[in-house]
Each structure stands twice: as C-alpha cells, then as structure tokens.
C-alpha cells in the first residue's frame, strides 16, 4: 500500500478558518501521506501550516456552486473549516483525508518518519525502565524482587518484560498465577509507601469461574504481600466493578477472590464506568460544550446528563479510598476490575499522586504515566483510535486516560502549589495520546512496541517535552515541593469542568494564557533580579 494511492488530488487553493478568534489563512492546500499542509500565499507570513492527518476525527463536506467546504473535527476537539476552490478538488481532498486519517497500520504511521532536528533517536527512552523504579523500591524494602519471568511476553502479553513481585514468590509460582488471572495479569507491585510500609498492587480479575476454582500460588502471593509489609497488616481488594457485575463475571469464567481463600484480605466494590458508557459520556459533554447559543438551563442540564463530572468524582473517591487505606490504616491495597487495563490503572495512578510527592514532579509524573499506563499495558491504540467527534461506530474506544488527566487537573486546581507541572503538560498528553508525531503512545502493550521497534525507530514524547523551550508552557511557576500526601475534596461542589480542555476552542483562550505568561514573567524576573543583585553584591565589594 502506497500513500500516493490514497491521495487523489495533490493540491488546491483554499482558505482555512482555524478558529473563532484567529484570522483566516489563504494559500495552497496540499495532502501528503501524513499531513495536510497549507502554504500561505502572499501577503501572509511564510510559515507553513500543517495538521497531522491522524488527528482528524471526522470530516464533513459541503459543495455549492464551484467551491466546497470541508469541516474537520479533530481528536483534540478543535474544529477547522477549509473553503476550497473547485468541487472536484473538494471531494477528492475529503476522500484522501478520510482514507489517510484512519489507517490502522502502526509501522507506516508518522512517528516512524518524524525526524526533528535537535533530537536523537533513542534519547530519553532510558528514562523510565522498570529496573530504575525497582531500585527505588529496593532502597525502601527488601520484601520485593524484580522478576523477568515475562521476558519474552509469553506469560502475559500486556505486561512489560520486568515486573516487581514479592521476594518469597518464585517464577514458577508466577507462571501459575498468570494462568489464574485474566490476560495473564497476575498481581504486581505499583507502589511502595515508605511512611506506612504498605504497598499498592494491581492485577486483573481471578478466573474463578462457575466452579469456584482456586489457585494456591495466587493465594500464596497475596499472603506473602501481607507478611512482607508489616506484621498483622491487613489487605483491601478494591474491585472497580459493582458487586453484581463481579458476580455475573463468574458465569463467563471470571469472578472475585473468595473470602475464605484469602485470609486477611477484605473486598470492597467501587464501580467505575468504563468502555462504551464512558465514551458516550465524553461525546455528550463535547456536544454540550460546542453549543454556545443554548440557554443556561439547557447547558447545566446537559452537563448533568452526560455524567462526566460524576465519573471524575467516582475516580477520585476510589483513589482517595485506596490512599486512605494505605496511609491511615496501614493496609495493603490490590486494585483490579475485569481486564485490569482501564479503571484499575486509573485508580493506581491517582492513588500514587495523592500519596507520593515524587510523582508530582515533572520527571516523576512522566515516569508515572510511563509505568502505570504505557508499560502497564493500557491499550492506547484501541482506546484512542477515535475521540468525541467520530462518526464511526465505536468499538474499543474509551477516554479513560483523559479521565485520569481530568482528575489530575482537579488535584492541581485544589493544590495549586503542589504539582510541578501545569495544565499545559496535561493538555499536551491529551493531544499526543490521540495523535502524535512521537511514538510514545503507539500500540497497546510493550510486546507490540517491541515487535514494531517503536523505541528504536521513533522519538519519545518525553524527549520532545523536556526540551528547554517547552518547559515554560509545562512547568508550574508556583511549585513548592510538598512532602505530604494531598487529600482532594471530592464534594461535587469542589469539582469543576476542565475548561482549559473542553472549552479550549469554543472561547478565546487568550486571557488565561496572558495571565499564565504574566505569572511566568513575574517569577523569572525575580530570578533574574535575584541573580543580578547577587552579582552586584559580589562585584561591589570594595577592593582595599
């Protein structure tokens, strides 16, 4: 398959309307294998405007007379309008965009061709390997070991090569556990909380089935967790399905951990929405946000009806519950749902943000996303195939990662000094998860990434974001390291709609950007003035 086969028209004259507050751009429109380009004719500036075709969620075309209009709705919720001269050209360009934006193949996607100046391939990939994280855990406790039983991904196709397991459990036992858990996702360590000596684990559902199967190795593993933590420590299993859903799962081979088989572990159900329903919620919210002519009543009623904020509240509440269990009750926590790849990761990553000050630094947060989402096997390729504007029938799409970012934003809003990064980083992660020139969010698991050689043949988002020129947009100028846990309020009145994401394109962003820039100016001025005062102090020492 050649890209050129899919491109019907090379170029046409067009005018782009980028948004409600920006001036239109006129020039020559061009479709390439991966991009839509607009080369502005005079008198505009010579900057090329480009759009990654992958970021197009849906296209609408209209023809009238001898010109046409294409409306592109992007995965990052931006809406662009192109007025094109020539009906043929319009239809051809629309068809080309449609075909190119929905290509499924990973290895022909743009990250494999993206070679920006100033970045080295293979840079920053070594930032966050599981070995490095294990070193941190090993410094705090010796009850755990790094196991490479999944070295060739044969035990669990969605786990990374190396995982952290209790020292007392050997690799053969792990193999047995993997057979007892959905998708082979046996319980592994997420986080060790040094102040209380307790741990956070995640897994998928046990395959107890209607026969109420048991697995001695799985039970041993969880027993070892408790003994390795503190004498007399208890454990909580946070099941992100409702108790009915969990019971029903037994009929199809899944189930829950039987009380008698796991002494010391108590099960709590905290249902979190997932899959189709979550995508629906996202779609309805974005629809409501796009309508600026509606009455206040209708807006509020649609906001309530889409239930997005209710999902944010539930996710944060569950994370608080897990965090409280660890910090205040000295208990170990195991989180799982059904597959262990969605709401499970949502809870474990949020819990770490609440408890662990290191995950609130820029590097720590990047590492958290790498470890708890990317390497942990969240199926990004499937979940982020389409966003809120797509017309295609949703299959596996769900905005679980976006829900995580929203919860992080709520935390940042309630604790404005405690996160080293600002909204800019969260928005960047949202965009890149859906469409990116970087390879970080490609594929569904480490196994797939190895097969496609993602790490050696594409650039890492982290290397892009960590360049000094990007830092100003991403860092929080008011950050002060806070060694304590931060407990968010989950009262409905304390949670807000994330305007910076959902209303980004429907209202002018300038005022808050101006304000952010101003705050940065103030902070950097202080540093400069501080430096110059210091150097003046030194230089004005009288030489006698």
């Amino acid at each position: 398959m050649e890209f050129s086969e899919l491109i019907r028209t090379g170029r046409a004259q067009a005018e782009l309307l980028p948004g409600p507050e920006e001036a239109p751009l006129r020039g020559t429109l061009c479709v390439t294998g991966h991009h839509l380009l607009l080369s502005p004719g005079p008198p505009s500036t010579p900057d090329l405007w480009l759009l990654l075709l992958r970021s197009v969620d849906s296209i609408e075309k209209r023809v009238a007379g001898d010109s046409g209009t294409i409306t592109l709705r992007c995965k990052d919720l931006r809406v662009l309008q192109l007025d094109i001269e020539g009906v043929e050209a319009t239809l051809d360009i629309a068809r080309s965009i449609e075909a190119l934006s929905s290509l499924e193949s990973v290895i022909t996607s743009f990250p494999f061709f993206y070679r920006p100046k100033g970045l080295r391939l293979g840079d920053a990939w070594h930032f966050h390997p599981p070995e490095r994280y294990y070193k941190r855990v090993a410094r705090e406790t010796n009850a755990w070991r790094l196991s490479e039983v999944n070295q060739d991904f044969s035990l669990c196709s969605s786990y990374p090569r190396a995982v952290i397991v209790p020292r007392a459990v050997d690799d053969d036992a792990l193999a047995q556990c993997a057979r007892f858990r959905q998708g082979g996702r046996f319980p592994v360590l997420c986080y060790h909380h040094a102040p209380s000596g307790t741990v956070l684990l995640r897994s998928s559902q046990p395959l107890t089935g209607p026969q109420k199967r048991r697995c001695a190795e799985d039970e041993d593993l969880l027993r070892a967790v408790l003994t390795g933590a503190r004498p007399g420590a208890q454990g909580f299993i946070v099941d992100t399905r409702s108790s009915q859903a969990a019971k029903q799962a037994r009929m199809t081979g899944g189930g829950t951990e039987a009380k008698a088989a796991y002494p010391g572990w108590k099960r709590l159900h905290r249902p979190l929405e997932r899959g189709r329903a979550l995508q629906e919620s996202f779609v309805r919210l974005v629809e409501a946000c796009g309508d600026t002519e509606q009455s206040m009543d209708r807006w509020l009623s649609r906001l309530e009806g889409c239930r997005w904020l209710a999902h944010v509240k539930e996710a944060l509440s569950t994370a608080c519950l897990a965090a409280q269990g660890m910090e205040r009750e000295g208990a170990c926590i195991l989180v799982h749902g059904a597959e262990g790849t969605d709401s499970t990761l949502l809870v474990t990553s949020l819990t770490q943000l609440i408890l662990d000050p290191l995950s609130r630094t820029i590097t720590g947060f990047q590492e958290l996303v790498e470890r708890e989402w990317i390497q942990a096997g969240h199926p990004f390729q499937l979940r982020c195939a389409h966003s809120a504007f797509s017309h295609t029938r949703p299959k596996h799409e769900a905005p679980t990662f976006l829900l995580f970012l929203d919860c992080v934003w709520q935390l940042g809003r309630q604790f404005p000094l405690s996160l080293e990064f600002g909204e800019g980083l969260l928005l960047a992660l949202f965009e890149h998860a859906y469409a990116s020139p970087f390879g970080t969010f490609l594929c569904n698991s480490e196994k797939e990434r190895c097969l496609c050689e993602v790490r050696t043949r594409t650039h890492s988002l982290w290397s892009g974001l960590n360049q000094p020129k990007e830092q100003r947009k991403l860092r929080n100028p008011l950050y002060v390291p806070n060694p304590l846990a931060i407990w968010p309020s989950v009262e409905p009145q304390s949670l807000r709609l994330w305007q910076g994401l959902f209303l980004r394109w429907t209202r002018p962003p300038e005022p808050s950007e101006v304000a952010w820039e101003k705050v940065w100016q103030i902070v950097t001025e202080r540093e400069k003035t501080g430096d110059s005062a210091h150097s003046f102090c030194l230089s004005s020492q009288p030489k006698q």
């Binding site: 002519e293 009455s295 206040m296 309530e304 000094l417 209303l503 808050s512 304000a515 003046f536």
Partner: protein
C-alpha cells in the same frame, strides 16, 4: 482627572456625597452639551435622586420638573456615562442615560419635555436605543397601573429593545435555592448539578451581562446613545448601566474608578440598599423588598474579571468585601435607600465611610490584582453559558478551606514583593557602583 482622584483620596471620614461634582466637572470640560442641574437639591423633584444630576444643556430646570412628573418616582432621564470614540479620524460622543418608566398609562399620555430631553442626546441624524429591562408583555401590562413605555409615534428617533431582567422575590428565591444547593451534603454530583440548574442563578447572571453587552454594543459599535429603564429604574436599570461602563471604560476597572462607579451608579443613583439588603439567604422571616440585585452585579463583575484577569486593578476579594458591607457593615456607606435619607440621617457626620478605610495603603494592598496591566480597551465578555461560572469565592466560601488557593495567592504576592525589594537593592548597588567608579577613576571596574 488627577484633581479628581486627589480629592477623592483626601476624603477621610466623609461619605463621598459631593465629590461627584468635581468628578463630573472634569467630564464637563470635555463636553459642552451638558450641564449640572441643582433642581433636586432639596430632593423635592425626585426623592431617590442625588442633589446634583447631569442633564443636557438645552433643558432648563422648569422642564426637568415637568419631566419628573412623567417618570416613575420622579426619576427623569439623567446622564450615567459619556463615551468618546474616534472613528475615521473624528471624535464621536455617545451617552448612556437612565430613568424610570414613562407614566403613559392607558390614555397614552405624552410629555413633550421628556421627548425633547432625550432627543437632545442624539447625534445629528442618528437614532438612539431604549433598552427596557422588562419583557414586552410586562411593559404593556404596566400601562394598566399607570406606567408604560415610550411609544414609537412620540419617540420616532428611538428604537426600543426589550431585554427582560428578573427582579424582586424571584431573585431572592434564586439566591436561597442556590445557597441551599451549595450546602447540600449528600455528595451526589447529579443532585448538585440539578439543584444548581434549578436555582436559575446563572441564568440571571447571563441575562444581566447580555443586556449590559447590548447597551455597550449600541454605544461602541453602533455609535448610538442609549436610554435604559425598567419599571422603577432602581434595580435592573442600575445593573445594566454600571456593567456597561465596566465593559466600555477602562477607568472603572481601577480601584478608584470602581469605587466612584459604585458611588455614582448605585449609592447616589438611589438603589434602595436598606430594603434590598435587609435580609439574605438564610433568613426565615417573611421577605418583602429583599433582592440580591447588588450581589448579582458583583457576580457579573467577577465573571468579567475572570475572563480578563489582567484588566482589573482589583481582585476578587475587593468584590467579596463590598458584598459583605452591603449587607452588614460598621461603616455608613451602604446605609439608607438614597441620598435624601442619608442626608436626613446625617450619615456624613455620624458615620465613617467605607472608602476611607479601604483606600488606606495597608488595606488596599490586599485587594490589588498582581496581574493588572492598564489598558485602554473595551473588553467584551463572553455570555455563552459555558463561559459563566459559579462564584465559589462567595457561594462556596465556607464549604471547604481555601487554604491552598490562598497560599498560592500569597506566594504570588510574596514573589512580587520580593521582586520589588530586589529591584530596589539592585538600584542602590548600581548607584554605589557608579560612585565607586567616579571616586576612584584609576581603579579598574570589577
């Protein structure tokens, strides 16, 4: 302008009763079509107006007396705001006037002096707009009780627009429902959002902002003068007129300018504070004239402030402080319903002015907006429902500690302070350096 600010800031224990004349005098230097009228100096012509008002030069006091009999409560049209704009190299002047409803009644009464008065504000060949803050139905029904609206036949140069703004007990009910929703402890997101919607508070905010934007658009984009009135001209009229000035005039976004706006457009304009702010949301006794009209105005200002964080010299705390003092205060500024009552109560002699306390540097520093950058622009707020938010600084203030947000704010203020100190230090060191260099010209500079 400097004289004006100077005189305002030296007023210590005197409520700002008469300095409006100094302020208006500066205004009059630039426009020769207007004059100060003292016709109401005994409050005999209009009990709710101040003693001095600004009217077109061509209308004498006798005519004003006649017009006062034609308007509700004697509130004849007066100048609220004067806007100058350069268009195609020429200066254009348009005004906002406000009044009470015309008492046309069922007989279709007319008053030639009233017509002459408002026609005097029109630019040659241009039409004006009358913004009636009642719906057409309500305005028509008002005729049965002696009120009404300006009929096209008698006011051919004016186009009338109805932009309904709620008033009286509907607003009070809305406030009560909102506060109840905010205190709801059931922790259910759906319930919270549904109660928020049912209170309709944000709908009222949207209504008022929309009307103010409309008035501002007439003035700035159409270059047409505007007359705003409702029924009595003491509630929604003042909301629309004062908000339009915030949109149009950068000065009203400064601390002193805003204080002057409140003084002129609310206190002296005769908004019945005593009645409206007698009780708030928690009071269980029967409500009569209470309505959170001023609070809604402050909420609208806050919405604009939030959308334009660098355009206001003051911050949210300033608005919250005004809200508190309107309802209960140790200062006399918000006592009484109009200037006449304040005179009778001798408030000027017997009470302290809120402004005298607020304008002290130590207090003012708490209300300063560190991101303020003076600009000369007209700022157009978005009234899309997504752009309007619940004012948590007022409504969710006691729900949970704003400790962290306050900390962030503190931090920012500290950074700015530290900046200033460092800059001063750098300046001192620079001077020392210069001295050292000149003292000892032979020594090498470090």
């Amino acid at each position: 302008l400097e004289n004006c600010i100077g005189s305002l800031s030296t007023l210590d224990s005197v409520t700002l009763m008469y300095p409006s004349s100094t302020e208006f005098e500066t205004l009059l230097f630039s426009c020769n079509d207007w004059r100060l009228s003292y016709v109401n100096k005994e409050f005999a012509v209009c009990p709710s107006y101040p003693p001095i008002v600004i009217v077109p030069k061509s209308i004498d006091d006798e005519a004003l007396r006649k017009v006062a009999t034609f308007r509700h409560g004697g509130r004849f049209p007066v100048l609220s705001y004067y806007h100058k704009k350069k268009w195609n190299g020429k200066w254009y002047r348009t005004v906002i006037m406000r009044s009470g409803q015309p008492l046309t009644g069922t007989n279709g009464r007319r008053c030639k002096e009233d017509e002459k008065l408002i026609n005097a504000t029109l630019r040659a060949g241009k039409r004006g707009y009358i913004i009636d803050t009642r719906s057409l139905n309500v305005a028509q029904q008002a005729r049965a009780k002696g009120g009404g609206f300006e009929q096209e036949a008698h006011y051919p140069q004016w186009r009338r627009i109805h932009k309904s703004i709620e008033r009286y007990h509907i607003l009070q009910d809305s406030l009560i429902k909102l506060v109840e929703a905010c205190n709801d402890q059931t922790h259910n997101m759906d319930r919270w959002l549904s109660k928020l919607e049912a209170s309709n508070w944000l709908t009222h905010v949207k209504e008022i902002l929309t009307t103010a934007c409309l008035a501002a658009q007439c003035i700035d984009r159409e270059g047409a003068s505007v007359l705003i009135h409702g029924a009595e001209g003491t509630d929604s009229t003042l909301q629309a007129a004062s908000l339009a000035q915030i949109i149009l005039e950068p000065r009203s976004r400064t601390v002193r300018g805003f204080e002057a706006l409140i003084e002129r457009e609310w206190l002296q304009a005769g908004h019945p504070f005593q009645q409206r702010c007698a009780q708030s949301a928690y009071c269980s006794s029967k409500q009569k004239w209470e309505a959170p009209v001023f609070l809604l105005f402050l909420d609208c200002v806050w919405q604009i402030l939030r959308q334009f964080p660098c355009s206001f010299e003051f911050n949210e705390h300033f608005l919250i402080m005004l809200f508190e003092h309107a309802y209960a205060s140790q200062f006399g500024t918000f006592l009484g319903n109009n200037e006449s009552e304040r005179c009778k109560l001798k408030l000027q002699q017997k009470t302290m002015s809120l402004w005298s306390w607020v304008n002290r540097p130590s207090e003012l520093s708490k209300f300063a907006n560190p991101l303020f950058e003076a600009n000369n622009l007209v700022i157009w707020p978005s009234v899309a429902p997504q752009s309007l938010q619940l004012w948590e600084g007022i409504f969710l203030r006691w729900n949970r500690s704003s400790k962290y947000v306050d900390e962030a704010y503190e931090e920012m203020v500290n950074i700015i302070e530290y900046n200033r100190e460092l800059q001063a230090k750098v300046n001192i060191l620079r001077r020392q350096l210069a001295e050292l260099e000149t003292e000892d010209g032979l020594r090498e500079s470090p």
